[in-house]
Symmetry: C2
Subunit: 113 residues, 2 copies
């Protein structure tokens, strides 16, 4: 494995777990998949459609999102929005994220021996 592949693998592991949190945080406004992809990219999260679309279906199935087909346009599109349960979970996940960030920063700065 080259150095670049090694780095890419570890970066991917780091990012993987954050996508669900990022989706929930973004879907207080209803969005269809592609628009969400664009919003995440604008925020610096370069997510692949092959990762995002199955994740949206999973979050929807878990009841964390509400979804609705918009059939008023020539090509029907599914809109997603965070559910009540999703909103509660988002609060707890955001808190967990901040705790994780404090831990990582403390370790990175050698504050904990």
């Amino acid at each position: 494995m080259t150095r670049e592949e090694l780095l890419a693998g570890h970066i991917q592991e780091l990012r993987r777990g954050t996508v669900a949190l990022a989706c929930l945080a973004t879907l207080s406004e209803p969005r269809y998949g592609y628009a969400l992809l664009e919003t995440l990219r604008a925020a610096g999260l370069d997510v692949d459609g092959n990762t995002l679309y199955p994740l949206l279906r999973r979050l929807d199935k878990q009841g964390l999102l509400d979804s609705e087909w918009n059939t008023e346009e020539p090509r029907p599109r599914k809109f997603y929005r965070i559910s009540e349960l999703g909103t509660a979970l988002l609060g707890e996940l955001t808190e967990e994220w901040r705790t994780l960030n404090s831990s990582i920063e403390a370790l990175a700065q050698g504050a904990i021996e």
Copy 2:
């Protein structure tokens, strides 16, 4: 799936990717596995031995850690320390983490629409 299981699953996904980064950040001082576990826990990262020990072997195999057996004690223990390659990668992973954190915070605060 109960609400608690749902939350636990998403929290686990969030944490999983951070353990390698946390290990690298902590192993500028040589430590054996159990001491590392204690340090991570002191930093608020509640990692399981069944997760940590295989990860240490993987990071060692990838050349990101150097390891050495201490045979001076009655029970030989393996000490791990970050390697030169690991130190370079740690810098890049820490940078990636901070970028991720900025993205998540911007989305969480609704700064990006």
